[in-house]
Symmetry: C2
Subunit: 348 residues, 2 copies
């Protein structure tokens, strides 16, 4: 079992990526490949643990580079070399905190979709009062059809079951009303298609998914990405208002220790570094997409998440679930990646 | 100047509606019409202030009733009678905490759109670090075209200017990336159309609108409604986690007064009752849509908001702005409501 880490991707690469890998290494059953410019990586890891190996890649993809350009022009980028390690079976998953669009496009084009899956989706773990849920698609595939939400649902269920440990996970459709018949044309059609599956639990509203028990919530990429960022924005706004209310005077401030105390679980639940990243699902390989501003702790947790997806056979579970739930719809689609390339390149 | 209040709409109607009206009455320059079943209203207002008058309506619209059914079948509902008071010029705005879909559909069908406006939009005031912004459409018109976002922008600007007191308000497009060319096909087209106006300030992400100064943020109804409810859900989740961290033991609890203190501005900024409601814009009349669970305080504030829209000539300002910014596009459209009726009936 091996994990490839894109050591050159992210706002704080390679330093925080390398340090995160070193933190993860002793906790892993897997081997780690640190992919990037060896001299840069060695600056932060003069002594490598036994299960960490550097794999050379001469190029790096910039955070603002166009995804398709990165794929076409940088054949020796750390991202591309990491993806190829997975493609060749030398690694089973990869982690990147670099350009999200480039990581999604490269993963798609190098690995291709699981048979029966048309569009990959980013599955984001979200907090709530009941151990959290996974939201997908949170940004991989804009402009999908309602049919694709069924694929996302199947992929999300596999993740909830294999990685979150949920038994027979249920799927909700994110909608603007609870009852059947609510929402826009897209949501109504998605509801109809999802209703054919026994694991479908109906509509859920944006407010209720943070309050009620749920496992998997599906929506299209634009909505999912807006949810993710709105949640982040509101949490930050609240934290900053609270912070402003605490007096700056050191003596008075001492009485405010309970504020620090009550905010601790919030910080833990909303800290992206505690989660590490969001897996890109639906491809013949797993890429954990980490936040651009990932620190070592986030990378460590992303690597642990990557190992969990491999150990729990996530790709195979998705394959089997797609086959079981959509088998009758799968024709001989050996290569249907080309149609989605343009849209993947537009990923935020 | 008169405001019509739907006394029978809302989870706590008529009691909280009537009490809210009585709280608002001494603060108003306007006359108030309390519309509903007189004997029910009088239970909570045995003595009416001089500027409050009861207008009889024999029917009430239920919270789960289909909007178009309510409009077609209940011609003497409190909602319908209130809307007619505005139509006939006896009132200039109305307030309803009842069925949102029915309030939107009834307003649209009784008042019709301002010339040049195709779809009404609900404008929701949202908090941020810089005095807040207004988000629209937050749920009135599902399945709009990108063109309609330009109308929403013009309506939102009029609100920001006339009611929020912003000078030369800017409009942002809610998107999943900042740069031009980001987002789905809808957002890209909307960006292109909005770019023709000097008040357009580009894309904004869900996270940044809570952090950076902004006046008006436009998006389509599904996304806007999800933003609204996600924000509500996250704020409630955080508040409930904090609450759980405060010990129940009364003695220890006493040391936790700073928590209560720092949470006060949060409660104020996120309390729907402090805002009162969201105006439905684009029609020949203003309807303030209040939360179904509105208490007297929310109704009081909704009535004050209604008066502010009338006093500051909001409908006329929208008329003038549409004429100025879209005048070249307006043909002789005297009656274009019929095409949108079906979609308005689907409002959540």
């Amino acid at each position: 079992m091996s994990i490839a880490v894109d050591a050159m991707g992210g706002d704080h690469a390679p330093e925080q990526i390398v340090l995160g890998a070193l933190e993860a290494a002793p906790l892993l059953k897997s081997k780690l490949y640190l992919v990037g410019q060896p001299e840069e990586i060695r600056k932060f890891a003069p002594n490598l643990p036994a299960n960490v190996e550097i794999v050379a890649a001469s190029q790096a993809v910039g955070m603002e580079e166009k995804p398709l350009d990165a794929y076409r022009k940088k054949k020796d980028s750390s991202l591309m070399v990491a993806a190829r390690l997975v493609k060749e079976g030398k690694a089973q998953a990869m982690v990147s905190a670099g350009n999200t669009g480039a990581a999604s496009a490269t993963s798609l084009l190098v690995w291709r979709q699981i048979s029966g899956v048309h569009r990959p989706a980013i599955a984001s773990p979200m907090p709530n009062k009941h151990g959290g849920f996974v939201l997908l698609d949170s940004g991989a595939s804009p402009d999908v059809d309602p049919e694709h939400l069924v694929e996302f649902a199947i992929m999300g269920r596999a993740y909830a079951q294999q990685v979150m440990g949920r038994k027979n996970p249920k799927v909700h459709l994110l909608n603007i009303g609870e009852e059947e018949g609510k929402g826009n044309a897209f949501a109504k059609q998605a509801f109809k298609l999802l209703s054919k599956h026994e694991w479908f639990a109906g509509n859920i509203e944006g407010k209720d998914m943070f309050k009620e028990p749920c496992d998997v919530v599906v929506c299209e990429a634009f909505v999912g990405n807006v949810v993710l960022k709105t949640a982040e924005g509101v949490a930050e706004l609240m934290a900053s208002i609270i912070k402003e209310e605490v007096p700056t005077n050191k003596l008075i401030r001492a009485f405010y220790w309970p504020v620090k105390k009550v905010m601790k679980p919030i910080r833990e639940k909303t800290d992206y570094a505690a989660v590490g990243g969001s897996p890109l699902l639906g491809l013949n390989g797993i890429c954990i997409i980490s936040h651009g501003r990932s620190n070592a702790r986030a990378i460590k947790n992303a690597i642990l998440m990557a190992e969990a997806t491999v150990e729990n056979r996530l790709v195979n579970t998705i394959r089997e679930a797609v086959d079981r739930d959509l088998g009758h719809l799968i024709h001989s689609e050996s290569d249907h990646a080309s149609g989605v390339v343009e849209s993947v390149t537009e990923v935020p």
